[in-house]
Structure formats: structure tokens, C-alpha cells
Amino acid sequence: MPPKLCALCEAAKATLRRPKTGQQICRECFFFVFETEIHHTITEAKLFKPGDRVAIGASGGKDSTVLAYVMKTLNERYQYGLELFLLSIDEGITGYRDDSLETVKRNQQQYGMPLKILSYDELYGWTMDSIVAQVGRKNNCTFCGVFRRQALDRGAATLGVDHIVTGHNADDIAETVLMNIMRGDIARLGRCTAICTEGEDTIKRSKPFKYAYEKEIVMYAYFKKLDYFSTECIYSPDAYRGHARAFLKDLEAARPSAIIDIIHSGEAFEVKDEVKASQRVQRTCQRCGYMSSNPLCKACTLLEGLERGSAESGLTDRARKKLEAEGPAPDNVRTIPFFNKPVTGNPRVSIAVEIPPGQ
């Protein structure tokens, strides 16, 4: 029986089945379609302009490792004219993040990009290890998620970049659409399928892998022999999200297009105007200047709870009222440094970054 030919070029032997389309294609054609689709995503959404300073959120995992590689490749191939940086957040999880940061440092060497690592310890005075020691494994993902978002923006501000790109892939977005519907989080549901988000006081953030399947990212990393760190976080007990993820995998197994179909659904609807009108107006945190819908942003609220030995106060109304009844925060409580969004086009590098040798 003759070897099956690639469905795209019809010249080379098919070596893989594309998870996204089910087509049997050769490796070279896979590289081409994978990279070109990401290029189409970037150009359709007009994500960048020449001269942009772009930070790649790098965790050392598969998504961000492939993202760094593909961004570098496309930047050179299509002459985007971007100045690329790697930006890593060290949550302070022994045995997990310290290992994955080694991968990021290797990427720094391989791709020749400046790297900035910002730690929770440096920014908040707490590591995830110490947070988990106080709050336990329940709800620790809330702390980590809130702190990471701010940390990325603050790290980007120190790099003076215009834009952060993250490795969120199609599976992540589809899962988030389902999660937000099931949790009734209408505000996030309204924006989770947007390729690019930018608030008045935050740095532009986008997801070039929005339509890239997780399996294809793994496949790309495998064939390109990219070096990445692959372990689930040791403090990740979000069982509810786990249910949604398992469900999504079942859907994908039944019909591979389900992931893209969910994203298409998310793009086809929006929150009704009357519901939007009832949502809280965005403002800035009184304490740290970061965007917030309350006088204090979520990170400051959580941090104050940790500092005052009442971590629950950032999570439940009852605990928050109890803490408020004890009076205002004492002066010796650590707070987050005031956030200043960089002025676009006028970069201010206020913290030294690690530059790869030879640059």
C-alpha cells in the first residue's frame, strides 16, 4: 500500500493528522500552516505596529515557549519590526516555578531576548509557598491569579513595553467561555473571547494563539524540539475548572471542531446593554493605583488580609466585614508600590533586565 500523501502539498508523505482539521499532512506543511494561521490572527486583528516593544509572558511551559519561538520567527519573516522581551513572574513555588524559570532562562539564551523576572516576593512581600502556608490549598488559586495579573502589568511597566502577549490558546479560551457561563461571570464572559484587551490604565494584552489548538502547540514544540517545562502547578486544586476542562476534552474527542465552535459562539454573542449598564464602573485603586471596580483593588484587599492574618477577608463578605469592624489597616502593613502605566512610545526602563550575552 503506497504511503498516504500530505493532504495539503500532495507531494510529501503525510506524517501527522492535524488535530484542528483532521487532515493528514506532512511535517513541513504543518509548520507552515501553524505559523501562517498565527500570522493571519496577528494581522487580521492588527495587533502590532512597527517599533512596538512587546513583552512575551513566559512561564517556561509549552505555550509560552512556543509563543516566544513563533513570535521571533514571524517577526523576522514578515518584518513586524518588533522589539521582543521575555517577562516572567516568579510566584515562589518551590519545585515548580524555580524549575520552569530555568527553562525561560534557556529560552533567553536561545532566542537572544532580554528577560525580566519579577517575583511575588519582590512585589508583594509574599511567595505562594508562604501564602499557602497561611491560607491552605483552598482558594490559593484566587491569590495567585489576582497577583499574577498585576505582576505582569507591573513587570511590563518596568520594561517600558507597549504590549504583552500571552500564550493563551484556543483550548484555554473555550474553557474560559464555558467556565464564565457556568459561574455567571458576565463581565469576564463579555471580554474573554477578545483577542486584545486594553483598559485605560492597563497595558495592551493579546493572545496570538487564540485559534491555536493546545495539541498542535505540543506537536509544534515536539517536532521543533523546543525545550519546555511541563508539570501542573502543585497548588492547583480548582476542581470546578477541572470539571470544565474534562468536559471540553470530551467534546474535542467527539468533534475536534468543538473548541473553535465554542470560541465562535463566544464571539457571536455579547452582554445586553441593560446588563452592561448595571455593571460597576472601572476606576483606580486608592492604595496602589491599579485598575479596580472598588475603592481597593482585589490584590490590595487580598494582601491586606494576608498581612493582618485574615486571608479570608479577601474572599468572603462576612470575613471582610469582620476585618473592617476591627478598624483601618495599621500603618506597618505592607502595601503594593503605586502603579504607573508607561507612556506609549516613550519607554522608561526603570529596572535592569538580563540581556543575553552577545547583545
Binding site: C9, A11, A12, E28, Y235, G242, R245
Partner: protein
């Protein structure tokens, strides 16, 4: 990118389950009797349960009975046409029939909590009950039309029973009413309707596509039956649980653009006098969970016939969603109502440009372009600036490229979800490429109207459909 959420780590650690009994076992309504049922963390006794169900049912239905929804209900309820109840034989539609009967046809003495002290007159002149029989495609399944008919007759002598077969969607001779409404039928098919239906079903590429096609056929048959019976309202027995399942299932199949229609929709058609008519599709039990329906049926002694349900098992997104939501309802009882409430806050982006030929729901234009942009399936899809790998010779492949998409093809008149159903392949399974696929009657009619306008022959239409009839694994 998601670095958290390992389901194997620690089960249920971050989502605290509430106790099922919030305070005590006393009914929260009368505060006297011991409760018999817990509904979303609240305890009710049997006596308070019935008015509660009745209230929720009427609160959902009655604002939509008068032709002008602004007209205050206290001035009376009067529908502009008849009522059609879709009865599948399942729990929800059986309870719906019972509630219609008890509320509007034989209203009882005023009960505690009843909102209407003067009794209620029936807002519809005639009430029809339609059962769509799908036993033709269920191998070995018994025909349930007789027990369903008996169920209707046991309940009321005033309701008129109608049986429709799923294959009637392909019948050009036995649906004169349908033909009258849809002007005319053009088809050269000589197959029996059942054979046509089976061929149509077998031509679909996935189990998901089969079950969603069956749902779409049932839905459109119900709408056409409503038009035939001059009904202004079509009521379905979709419970809150079933609604949440259909919402998530629809979203998972790309049906986000018709998310509003999953809850409530208005279908417009032209009658014999060419006057525009509207059928309102309402789900009066959409605020009542499946558990409450089961209790109602049990306490009222309803003998639920049971419904035929096509299921493709683990390969069927509808079946997977049902299992997922039912599992969640057990562990996280608020999730089901949260899904419905969240989706109720959504609307479609942009205006509706057209109706899908298959499911007759609103459809976006440009869905094929969107698909082409995000996934390259041929070198004809690439832009001039994209340089293909060195081993690819585009010049020699020019003749092999897919034909350019025809803006007048059926594909361009399909919604994203239906287009995906026809084209999306499964990982497993191999579908034989069909050359002559029968189509539902309404699709042929719509196409024939297009033919008059655009001069597209039946043959060219078939050729266009041929693009969707994929050899899997190729």
C-alpha cells in the same frame, strides 16, 4: 497557558458545597409543615409546592400570551391564535400538558398563593397537542404514538391530538398543509420519505451532527404544524435543566448566534393570504428544574410515557453535555440556574442578516470566510505574502485547488452551527461520500425560491452540497 486546574489533585477543594438544608426542615413558605422537597437550597412542603410550580409556570408564560406584551395581563389574556403543545412523551412536556389542563381548562378553587382570584379563562380558542414520532430512525424502538395519544385523551377531551412523523420532513405528498404554506414543492426524488430521511441522516459526518439534525427537523416540523393549526403559540416542556443542557450544547456546537432562540423565539411565516404571521415559541417550565417536574408528576400520578431520544453516546456532544450538566446539578445545584440566567443576559452581536436554510434560525454572514481565516485547509486559502514551504509547487497545484466558494451556494445560506454539522469530521468513523442526498422539504422550497431569483439549477445546488459530503480521514 492555563497553569492551574488539575482535576486530579484535590477534588472539590475550592468550590464549597452548600448544605442542602439551609436552615431546618420546616417549609420556608408556610413555616408550619415539615418540608417534602428541597428546591435550590429552600425547603417546601407538598401543599406549598403546587402553588409554587403553578406560579412559576404562569409567571413565565402569561406575559407572552397577549399579542402585545405591553398589554397588562390584568385586563385579560387573549391570544391571537390557537395553542400548540409539543409533547415528546417525556417528563417536561407531560407536566406542561398537565399544567395547561389544570390552569386553563379546569381551574381549581382558589388556592393559597394563587394570583388569580377570579379563575382563569382559556386564552386560546383551540388547543392542539403534537407528537413528532421519530421511531422510524430508532432501530427496534417501539412506536409510542398510541400511548402518547392515550395520555392526551386521558387528560382532556378538548385537546386535539396530532401525530407527525419525522420523515414527514421529506414527504412531498402527505403534507398538503405544509405545501400550502410553503407555496410549492420541487423535487425529483422518488424515494419514500423514510428512505430519504435515513439517507439524509446517514450522510451526516458525526454523531453530533445526527442528533442535532434530528432536533432541527423536529423543531421545524413543530413550527410548521403550529402554522398549519393557526397557532399563535407553541409551548415546549423544556425544564430549567433541559434548557441549560441545550444552551451549553448549542454553544459547544457553534450556535452562539442563536442563543436567544434557545430560550424563546418568534418564528415568522406567510399564510395562504400572504399575511405575515408569528408563532411564539415559549418554554413555560424554563424556571422549573427537572427534579420539581419529577415531583409534580409523582404527586399528581402522571403516567409519563417516556420519549425516544437519539444518542450517539460519547461521540455525541448533546449526550456528553447532558451527562455533564446532570453530574454538575448533583454536586453544584446552583449551576443549572446560573447557566440559564447568564445566557439570558446575552444578545447577539450585530443585526441578523438572514435565516439559516436548515434550522430556520438567524444566521450570520461570512462564517465560511471566518473559518478559512483561522484554519488553512488548502494552499488556495493563503495570502500572496505567505510563502509556502519549498517543496510545494503552487503552479502545478492550481488546477487541484478547491473551487472558489459560490456566494449563492447553500453554504452561504447556512448558520455556522449547521454548516459545521455538515462539514466537521470526527476523529473516528468514516463516512461514505454520498452523491444524492435528500433534503428536508422546507430546504428544497427555500432553494427553489432562490432558484427563481438566482437561476441556480437543482443540479448545481447538488454540486454545491457535494463539497460538504466529505470522505473522512482524507
Amino acid at each position: 497557558m492555563a497553569s492551574c486546574g488539575n482535576p486530579d489533585v484535590e477534588a472539590d477543594a475550592s468550590m464549597t458545597k452548600r448544605p442542602k438544608y439551609d436552615r431546618n426542615k420546616t417549609c420556608v413558605k408556610c413555616k408550619l409543615q415539615t418540608g417534602n422537597i428541597v428546591i435550590r437550597h429552600a425547603v417546601y412542603c407538598k401543599d406549598c409546592f403546587f402553588p409554587l410550580m403553578s406560579l412559576r409556570f404562569r409567571r413565565t408564560l402569561e406575559p407572552h400570551i397577549n399579542p402585545n406584551p405591553q398589554q397588562h395581563r390584568r385586563k385579560g389574556l387573549k391570544a391571537s391564535g390557537n395553542l400548540l403543545i409539543g409533547l415528546s412523551g417525556g417528563l417536561g412536556s407531560s407536566v406542561l400538558l398537565d399544567l395547561i389542563q389544570k390552569t386553563y381548562l379546569s381551574p381549581r378553587e382558589r388556592q393559597q398563593g394563587d394570583q388569580n382570584p377570579n379563575g382563569i379563562t382559556c386564552p386560546w380558542s383551540k388547543i392542539f397537542v403534537v407528537y413528532v414520532d421519530i421511531s422510524g430512525i430508532m432501530i427496534g424502538a417501539p412506536d409510542k404514538s398510541s400511548p402518547v395519544e392515550q395520555f392526551v385523551k386521558r387528560h382532556s377531551t378538548t385537546m386535539e391530538y396530532i401525530r407527525v412523523k419525522l420523515e414527514d420532513a421529506f414527504d412531498q405528498t402527505r403534507s398538503p398543509g405544509l405545501r400550502k404554506i410553503l407555496l410549492k414543492v420541487l423535487s425529483s426524488s422518488t424515494c419514500s420519505p423514510l428512505v430519504s430521511l435515513k439517507t439524509y441522516i446517514e450522510s451526516l459526518p458525526t454523531q453530533t451532527a445526527i442528533s442535532s439534525a434530528i432536533q432541527a427537523l423536529i423543531r421545524v416540523l413543530l413550527l410548521h404544524t403550529a402554522a398549519l393549526t393557526h397557532s399563535s403559540h407553541l409551548l415546549l416542556g423544556t425544564s430549567l435543566t433541559s434548557l441549560s443542557i441545550s444552551l451549553i450544547s448549542s454553544i459547544s456546537q457553534g450556535g452562539g448566534y442563536s442563543i436567544r432562540e434557545e430560550t424563546q423565539e418568534e418564528w415568522t411565516y406567510r399564510n395562504q393570504d400572504n399575511i405575515e404571521q408569528i408563532v411564539r415559541v415559549i418554554r413555560p417550565l424554563c424556571d422549573v428544574g427537572m427534579k420539581e417536574c419529577a415531583f409534580w408528576a409523582w404527586w399528581c400520578g402522571l403516567k409519563v410515557v417516556g420519549k425516544h431520544r437519539y444518542s450517539g453516546g460519547r461521540q455525541d456532544i448533546g449526550a456528553l453535555t447532558r451527562d455533564f450538566i446532570m453530574g454538575l446539578e448533583k454536586d453544584y445545584p446552583s449551576t443549572v440556574s446560573t447557566i440559564a440566567r447568564t445566557c439570558n443576559k446575552l444578545t447577539t452581536k450585530g443585526g441578523t442578516s438572514m435565516k439559516c436554510l436548515i434550522c430556520q434560525r438567524p444566521a450570520q454572514s461570512g462564517t465560511q470566510d471566518w473559518k478559512q481565516n483561522i484554519s488553512i485547509r488548502s494552499y488556495s486559502d493563503i495570502n500572496p505574502e505567505d510563502v509556502p514551504p519549498g517543496h510545494v509547487n503552487l503552479a502545478s497545484r492550481a488546477s487541484d485547488d478547491l473551487p472558489p466558494s459560490n456566494p449563492h451556494s447553500i453554504a452561504s445560506s447556512m448558520c455556522y452551527a449547521c454548516h459545521t454539522s455538515w462539514t466537521s469530521k470526527s476523529i473516528r468513523g468514516r463516512i461514505t461520500k454520498q452523491t444524492d442526498i435528500p433534503l428536508p422539504v422546507w430546504l428544497k422550497i427555500s432553494s427553489s425560491i432562490s432558484e427563481e431569483r438566482r437561476q441556480i439549477t437543482m443540479e448545481s445546488m447538488r454540486n454545491t452540497i457535494d463539497d460538504f459530503l466529505l470522505d473522512s480521514d482524507s
